[in-house]
Symmetry: C2
Subunit: 442 residues, 2 copies
């Protein structure tokens, strides 16, 4: 039911049967582990439709590697059989030399289709759409529509919604296969179709396309150009992949890892190094501020060395509360649960929640303070705790909004970034209070 145990078995007949009949996702996983030349050779033994199906499931680094290892005529046959969005993705990932070598071997119409789909910038709705869909004129009857769909027989994923367009390809409505099957045979598409369907612009972020498919429970979302002409569709299964990838990217950003071009398992050491070093260095500066803050209060520290004991506790709590607040907002903004205009409402509520959190933490830390360093230090530590948790939370909560307003990715408000800022502020608040209050108390 899960990955087939292809690699373990040695009987060539069984392997051959699995290659033909196993689920393409499972077989492709096995192909991705083979040396590219071997994978290309093994693929060549299969029917071209099956090859195209398997190829669609190969992850990005493997699919280009295998494509490059193929003979040009073999690759051209395979590309002709692939689904339109997958071959455009492959084309986008190939280098210039291989593109130029591939194009002349394809039919004119395919060349244009690939060029058109591959032209949309990475990350846009256009870059994840396919041109595998059926269009129908508005005056067609249900019976004629069914006959036409039977003949055109496009991909399984794209037959369930057909698009009604006028002579200039402007989208008039959507009609489902179910409606066509259930309708009176003489009803026209114009009568059956749902008008003003949900759609997306080709240059909108791909995340917007995925969010709309999720929100409106669609099987496919039509993609329009600036003149309202239908240029493609995004299917639900591709939207699910987009959603998964976007969540992974946000996850990584919040953990200060730059987005990876491939999966963690296959990524090389230097790719991982590059994805991590930049933020580690940037955060050094945040930590240097904390260090400078501490150095500025060296006299206070030397006079009351017991204060140092509470330092990790206080600045740690501020950073943790701030990370919590940032995490909640980053995810809420990514899923459209919260919008930019909600900032002031969210700020007021965060102040209330953080105030309660700060008071609880202050209560806990005051007991430790009395036992370890006497009531004066306990008072300083408790006061600092309330303020540090409050300030850390408000910074953590606001940073994603500020970044979004500046048209940067809110997920850049990572836990470590918020922690660094909260640490530096925490040092100032703690030693500031201590320097002011302790001479008065002691």
């Amino acid at each position: 039911m899960n990955a087939t145990p292809l690699t373990g078995t040695l009987d060539p007949d069984i392997i051959r049967a699995q290659l033909r009949l196993g689920h393409a996702a499972d077989v492709a996983e096995m192909f991705a582990t083979l040396p590219p030349a071997e994978a290309a050779g093994l693929l060549a033994t299969l029917p071209v439709k099956r090859q195209a199906e398997l190829f669609g499931y190969l992850p990005p680094p493997a699919h280009t590697a295998v494509a490059v290892a193929m003979r040009r005529e073999h690759l051209a046959r395979l590309v002709s059989a692939m689904s339109h969005d997958e071959r455009a993705d492959l084309f986008r990932d190939l280098d210039d030399d291989h593109r130029e070598a591939l194009l002349p071997a394809l039919a004119q119409a395919e060349r244009e289709d690939i060029r058109r789909l591959a032209a949309y910038a990475e990350g846009t709705a256009g870059s994840v759409m396919t041109s595998d869909y059926a269009t129908l004129p508005p005056d067609l009857t249900a019976r004629a529509a069914l006959d036409r769909l039977r003949v055109e027989a496009p991909d399984r994923e794209t037959i369930y919604d057909a698009y009604v367009v006028d002579a200039r390809r402007r989208l008039l409505g959507v009609v489902s296969l179910r409606q066509i099957v259930l309708a009176n045979a003489r009803a026209s598409m114009a009568e059956l179709m749902r008008r003003d369907p949900i759609s997306v612009r080709a240059d909108a972020p791909r995340k917007e396309a995925a969010n709309r498919i999720a929100r409106y429970d669609l099987l496919a979302l039509p993609v329009l150009d600036a003149d309202d002409r239908l240029v493609g569709i995004v299917t639900a299964d591709d939207a699910m992949d987009v959603q998964q990838q976007e969540a992974t990217e946000d996850f990584h950003r919040v953990g200060t890892v730059s987005p990876l071009a491939e999966g963690v398992k296959s990524a090389g050491i230097f790719l991982l190094y590059r994805a991590r070093i930049a933020w580690l260095v940037v955060l050094v500066f945040g930590n240097l501020f904390s260090g400078l803050g501490i150095a500025a209060f060296e006299d206070t520290i030397q006079a009351h060395i017991a204060l140092v004991f509470f330092l990790p506790l206080l600045i740690g709590s501020g950073g943790n509360a701030g990370s919590q607040a940032a995490t909640l907002m980053v995810r809420a903004l990514a899923t459209d649960d919260v919008r930019l205009s909600d900032w002031s409402r969210m700020l007021a509520r965060e102040a209330a929640v953080a105030g309660l959190l700060g008071l609880s933490m202050a209560l806990a830390v005051s007991l430790v303070g009395i036992v370890r360093a006497g009531p004066e230090v306990a008072l300083v530590v408790s006061l600092a705790m309330v303020l540090i948790v409050l300030v850390g939370s408000l910074v953590g909560m606001s940073l994603p909004f500020v970044l979004a307003r500046l048209r940067l990715d809110p997920a850049t408000a990572s836990a470590p970034l918020v922690t660094s800022i909260a640490d530096a502020l925490g040092v100032l608040i703690y030693f500031g209070i201590a320097t002011t209050l302790l001479p008065l108390l002691l």
Copy 2:
């Protein structure tokens, strides 16, 4: 194209038209902001099918509130019209009194269907499945199947795959509407169907169902009981919601926020307080260890007060590198990109990446060290940096695996937890090296 501006407009005719014709997701969003009694009253003015459609899009806190505000007969009519999974979800969320009040008003078959679906534990594949699907016997012809689907006409989402079952409801295969439409009218289901379809057990985690739908690009996934009998299906749009919710929960866990029962926007102050306070308190203990570590080295610190300046920088970098490593592994485990058995391979690679990161950071920090505190301290700080980044990274990378092995959620390996552990270890490494080396060097 996005949320309709329902609340801004005042013309009752326009409002009425929007209520009937606007997309259910948008109208439901507006309903969720109304007082429950008002929402119940407004719903009652609409056709019952439309009510059921809107109700399916209401978020959990609003759907129970509005249901409770309805007259019992009204709720019973609405429940009968709702899709099977949505009414089971509602039933699961109602308190016992309201359940008991509702059940007698329903037909026998509906009562049993609701009880059966609601019986699956929250978080299982069974809890997100629906019983809205078509089954066909293996000897039915394509023409007869089409006629039967026309008559049964179940929900749009569930007609595209029909399930071929034997007399005991054991799943034999899946046949798509497209296949039935395209097939020779006399072909039997047994000939057309795809055998051994991908399926999931009712008691498997719902995440597994969603991951399978994403991996195999399915429109719906059949759910089987322990005897291989078909008991329901999970549809792609529900899988997308599951994927989104699971990603949000992991996101929150990594940010040390306990999973929230509702969205951040509607969650109350005390719900948010409860979701955050537990981890903040737990992390205090981590920070206390760091404080105790620092206190143990008070003599070294007093002798070389310049060491304090580098403290936030060093322990911060260890925590940050550890958070990065943990983030990568938590997400990779959640998306099945990495499995438990990959641990040793991942550990070796992490050691290489972290070694490079540590050396780069040590180089940077040694320059600051020489300028600020002379070559001896610079040497201590550089050595400590390499070790701290390496140890932090290996802890951060391994913790998700350890948690998964203990059958706990890997996402509990949050950035702040890893940071706390790395901080405490960092203090020991830093001052340990300083206490050992500085007397020899100075």
